[in-house]
Symmetry: C3
Amino acid sequence: MTFIWTRNHILALADWIAPEYEILLQTASSFREVLSRRTKKVPALQGQVVANLFFEASTRTRSSFELAAKRLSADILNFSPGTSSLTKGETILDTAKTYLAMGADIMVIRHQQAGVPLAIAQEMDRLRTGVSILNAGDGQHEHPSQGLLDLFTVCCLLDNDNPSIELLKGKKIAIVGDILHSRVARSNIYSLTTAGADVHLAGPPTLVPRWFEGMSNGKSPGKLLIHWEIEPALSDADFVMTLRLQRERMTAHLLPSLREYHLRYGITRERLKLCQKEVRVLHPGPVNRGVELSSDLMDDPRLSLISQQVTSGVAVRMALLYLIGNLES
Amino acid sequence: MTFIWTRNHILALADWIAPEYEILLQTASSFREVLSRRTKKVPALQGQVVANLFFEASTRTRSSFELAAKRLSADILNFSPGTSSLTKGETILDTAKTYLAMGADIMVIRHQQAGVPLAIAQEMDRLRTGVSILNAGDGQHEHPSQGLLDLFTVCCLLDNDNPSIELLKGKKIAIVGDILHSRVARSNIYSLTTAGADVHLAGPPTLVPRWFEGMSNGKSPGKLLIHWEIEPALSDADFVMTLRLQRERMTAHLLPSLREYHLRYGITRERLKLCQKEVRVLHPGPVNRGVELSSDLMDDPRLSLISQQVTSGVAVRMALLYLIGNLES
Amino acid sequence: MTFIWTRNHILALADWIAPEYEILLQTASSFREVLSRRTKKVPALQGQVVANLFFEASTRTRSSFELAAKRLSADILNFSPGTSSLTKGETILDTAKTYLAMGADIMVIRHQQAGVPLAIAQEMDRLRTGVSILNAGDGQHEHPSQGLLDLFTVCCLLDNDNPSIELLKGKKIAIVGDILHSRVARSNIYSLTTAGADVHLAGPPTLVPRWFEGMSNGKSPGKLLIHWEIEPALSDADFVMTLRLQRERMTAHLLPSLREYHLRYGITRERLKLCQKEVRVLHPGPVNRGVELSSDLMDDPRLSLISQQVTSGVAVRMALLYLIGNLES
């Protein structure tokens, strides 16, 4: 492959192109091999510092990034918002610059507001710091590492030894649930349509607005379609992605009851009969059992890819940290 | 020794047999030697991942396990309940499975409910994961690593070079305080009576119920006796273990005032005169000074083994992690 | 240099002598070189344990010490007050002794009460433990590592290759703001006047009481002067240190409004015209932008040394940990 990796920040998948996905999948695949060894460690980032700035609390994603960084032998600094200078009125940029001055090489940033990782990346570039920013989820904007680990998971299922976006050409993937508020859905829409899969969104009109169709930029080989009933989305689907339903949405009158939601949009063994015989189900976790996904289906290893997603997460995040941490500067 | 270690989970001491205690004591003894070096580290668990899942907050026990794991060169993931997916409604088993999927090799689990570590261990076995579970305290059930570090501490005092449960044959050990609610007391009862020591429980009837005598299974060489006065328990005792008194017990009307409690059951220099001349006092910490133990006695290095218990804790936890982390699978 | 480092605790700068400052500056300078390498790590404290006991929450200082310790290859134990035994009534000394018994070699201690690090150090010495205590800020007493990183920052600016306190002879340094409540100001007064600089304190009379003049012990080569107007303090100054203004001070009626404060004592580009042409501004962070310091000035790399201070912090803390961690005992 003659394409050379040049991206030094991972902020969004909206502008990723096909060869970047291919490099990422190949790199993650090689790290997956490292993870199967007894000593699951390589010295790739020895002596480098990864700062985890999680302004929004998270256990799952932070642990995954932390483990990825440790397996690359990096040193890790964890920033916990509860005990931080933020409560003393410091701006977010000042916090980032403090970690810069301490010597952070890569900053992994999660924030409840969209655009914060981008703003920090722009400041780091303006100051010519060479520091890389990795968006670990910003508001309702994007969650690129989640989109990439989902991509890696489905590609590995299709060809474990040679995961490639080529494998997704013409596949049908349903994304079901609260699309409107989901940064995971947005990142997946970009990666999957670029890979050539057709993405079918399904959910209640309040959570799947018509204007989402505009996210398809027309240049992607895959199509983007919207459904307010679940059946046409599931029909002949190869993969079904369900999203976590935030209970707070109900108080905002965007939803009927959880029971009603499960009846209309919950993924069950019965509903999967509409899909391809080999269908698999994904969920970014944590799952509300019995709401977006029936409990027995979640625990069925022949149908659920949830564990593989978590495992893929460590390999994909190692790949991201490795790629941006080894650029010629 | 021809006995081979085969236990892959450490959930309770209730079913431990004598040769297991002996292997544990010998292994801890060899790690204690490592801890006396300037570079207190060995590569035994290099590249393996120990996940500390402390659903119940703890500094002391978590730090001890963390240090033990670091000295074995393992990578550590800390789960903090405050910032976790649990608040988002995820089940405990799902949390454990997430850490499994990330690649955890050993999970150290503390939970306010009895039985949680066992439930997770059963699920790990059912899924044939090879992951080991270490109970770091579950409700009022057991706290096996505390029982083992107490055992190691007293055996080392009796023969520092060759700690063995043989040394406890015929010794008298008093355990004083809130036996009813104590997982520490339960683990110690099992280890000490199996070792052949006679265990005398003492405390107010509300906290030392008659049915505790039934914990002695009759097969253990050591006897288990109950007292509601402290004097017969201390009389000629070789060791006195005091337990932390939870202040919450008072509001439940299980106790008179703290002052009254100290007068009747507090361990003081005066009371120790009832014991053997060489008596030593243990306490799992943290101590309510002047309640279960007089303050001057706690600080007297000729009488108190509290510091040695903490030091033993690191060596014993290294031994446990080492033994379960190096099984042939 | 024939002077040999013998100090095993870093509690205050009040009694530091000139040769100690010189050794510290030289050692920090050599570690700064390590930090400019790609692999920013040395094995100086391999296998030793640094316990961070931050009874008062802090992100910035804790991260700096943590990174310093990691770069010396030490193992780190973090104590978080929220989840600690302190809430169970354990004394601070007992907490420290627990970490001692676990095997901590160095304890870095921050506490809201003045004197806590000293009390712990005295107990460690009384017990002949060999454990070193490093004060990371105690109440309104001292914050020695901050004083030293400020010293290192200004000395490096004056001669980057050979930072020495000799360079500060006859320099004028203004410290502006809430001197009364500032442990940073106190540590800086000691280091700077010992180095031979003249220190000019400025702020409202409620925050710069007359009796502060008594801190000058008369033996230091540098002078200590007090001003209630800012102009004489800034006039011809070589360096201006501003201090963080705690908003809580206003409710105590020690201050007019923040706006009023900024008008009278805030450092602005305009006010700096009173100083030497090459003047630089320092601030311990986090900054209240637009209160003690104007926002544009803070971001001007030709005037602000704030980033250099943070970077110096890691090198200076590596030097401190290294010096006290490598004493012959």
